[in-house]
Symmetry: C2
Subunit: 319 residues, 2 copies
């Protein structure tokens, strides 16, 4: 299948976004925005970010777009458009390619996102790069730098599930809720609806949990110049997460990544309203710590025994 026929095959028959003026079929796409435009790119490479041993083409397409939508959600933006660049091994057949496209399309349809550009080339190894664009109201983009001393820290959903799902797939491990963990790994749900629901809240710091909260919490601390204190036992995990070894639990919930949940901070006054919005959007949410003033931006993790500093990579040491 050559480049042209694949682009034609996946070219949408109709577009959803009312702001789109020109979709696929000219030198470039055109849209007319009245809101601020938010844009991000994510690249997934076979055997680095995913393996065909643990994912089908459908999951791969779904997951790359999920990563992008999660970035948009973390900015408080409504997903609108995406452009796809794919390197496809020659041995791939049309069915596999369509699987990738269907995976992307499944998620795109949920958000009425339009595919507005693409580029497919041959390569030895599968690579998919997506640039996504969304809209956010003026002064409502959610930055990492928006955390303030006194804020509460919250996380959506449960953490470590995607990493657990990968482990189960890699080692054919028998365990409780096996299908649940596998689904969390293959078909993560970005928290776009909840993030959009927050639009009435004036100030929220948000970061999506793509590399684990160790990394994301440190990014918020650095960007905002504050100290984040996370209470270890409050980090939300699934009911059957305790079946894994203590070491696994600890590593996965802090550094597992790719859960595509949201980590955020908001003032105490607004916390009740944030919880209401989460409830309306069917998004589990939990306070996991608080923000403190500090000369040295850093993240501390507090357990029943001790307080340690948590680095970006998840390494802890006594403070």
């Amino acid at each position: 299948m050559d480049e042209f026929s694949f682009i034609n095959a996946i070219k949408p028959k109709a577009y959803n976004q009312p702001t789109l003026i020109k979709g696929i079929g000219d030198d470039a796409a055109v849209f007319r925005s009245t809101s601020d435009v938010v844009t991000t790119v994510d690249t997934f490479v076979e055997d680095i970010h995913f393996s065909l041993e643990t994912m089908e083409p459908f999951h791969i397409g779904y997951r790359v777009l999920a990563a992008n939508i999660s970035d948009l959600a973390a900015m408080g933006a409504k997903p609108a458009f995406y452009l796809v660049s794919m390197c496809i091994p020659k041995k791939w057949n049309q069915e596999a390619l369509e699987g990738i496209y269907q995976g992307m399309n499944e998620l795109a349809s949920m958000y009425q996102m339009d595919l507005i550009g693409g580029d497919t080339v041959s390569s030895d190894r599968l690579m998919i790069s997506i640039t996504a664009m969304g809209y956010v109201s003026k002064e409502r983009a959610r930055y990492r730098s928006h955390a303030r001393p006194g804020d509460i820290i919250f996380a959506t959903g449960t953490l470590g599930d995607s990493r657990a799902g990968l482990e189960i797939l890699l080692h054919q491990q028998k365990c409780k809720d096996k299908d649940y963990y596998i689904k969390r790994h293959r078909l993560p749900q970005p928290r776009a609806a909840f993030a959009l629901g927050l639009r009435e809240i004036e100030r929220v710091a948000l970061n999506d949990i793509s590399d684990g909260i160790s990394n994301e919490a440190n990014e918020i601390a650095e960007a905002s110049g504050v100290e984040l204190i996370i209470i270890e036992e409050k980090i939300p995990v699934s009911q059957t997460f305790h079946q894994f070894s203590e070491k696994q639990q600890y590593e996965w919930k802090l550094s597992g990544g790719e859960d595509f949940e949201l980590l955020g901070t908001v003032s105490k006054q607004e916390w009740a309203r944030v919880q209401e919005i989460a409830y309306q959007e069917n998004t589990p949410i939990k306070q996991i710590g608080y923000v403190r003033e500090s000369d040295e931006p850093r993240v501390l993790i507090q357990s029943q025994e001790e307080v340690k500093q948590l680095t970006k990579s998840g390494y802890t040491h006594l403070k």
Copy 2:
């Protein structure tokens, strides 16, 4: 060099675009547009689109961004932003990576374009994908579908030079103006200034010549539902282009591609003004044919001996 350090290394210290609100450093970038937004993606893979035998890292970076700017120019858009996704072989050193970045930056600086996002991952083979964005005034996007019967067809610059440069590099060929052809291959100049200069002209069809005029002319014919007649001897070529074999000249000027010149059509009434604009922007321009009404969209090529139909791939047959 890991992903994070490379992104930090190329992160701009200052941004040029006044509409940019947030550059690199959060989950996504944010900009506020009052014009229409034009966006396109181009992907280049080692040993498919370029070879390290004929290009240095600087040229590779330069050329991928040139392809994107050329697409924006073909829409009449002013280049503004770009996001880069790169797969980098582990054996590449920092100097080579910086070469790529410097090549992109050289061209970006010319247009005050800002790098607003990026993603670098390891791979076996070098791959660079760029998504570029630009601005165009309302109702001034230049579509392929804008050709009308009676229009004159024009081309900028000279065609076939990039392909000639590649041939010279591949076969170490001795010839006149060797450096000129090599430069045309490695460091093409997209025609963005000329395309922007056309803003006062109400209707222009434009297509950038990335795959050769055989392909681009057919795209205009199909999108506009018209017949394009191209006069072979009027296709602009460089002064010393005749040193190549007749077969090479014919193939290269029709299907050589990657000259990143513009092919367009405009009404006879506006043609003098288009030539003036081209002169002001130091852009050579030439009429190469005319547009005719037709029940069957197609491209004809007329030589002194005969008239043939020209297909997308450059194949000709008697009409």
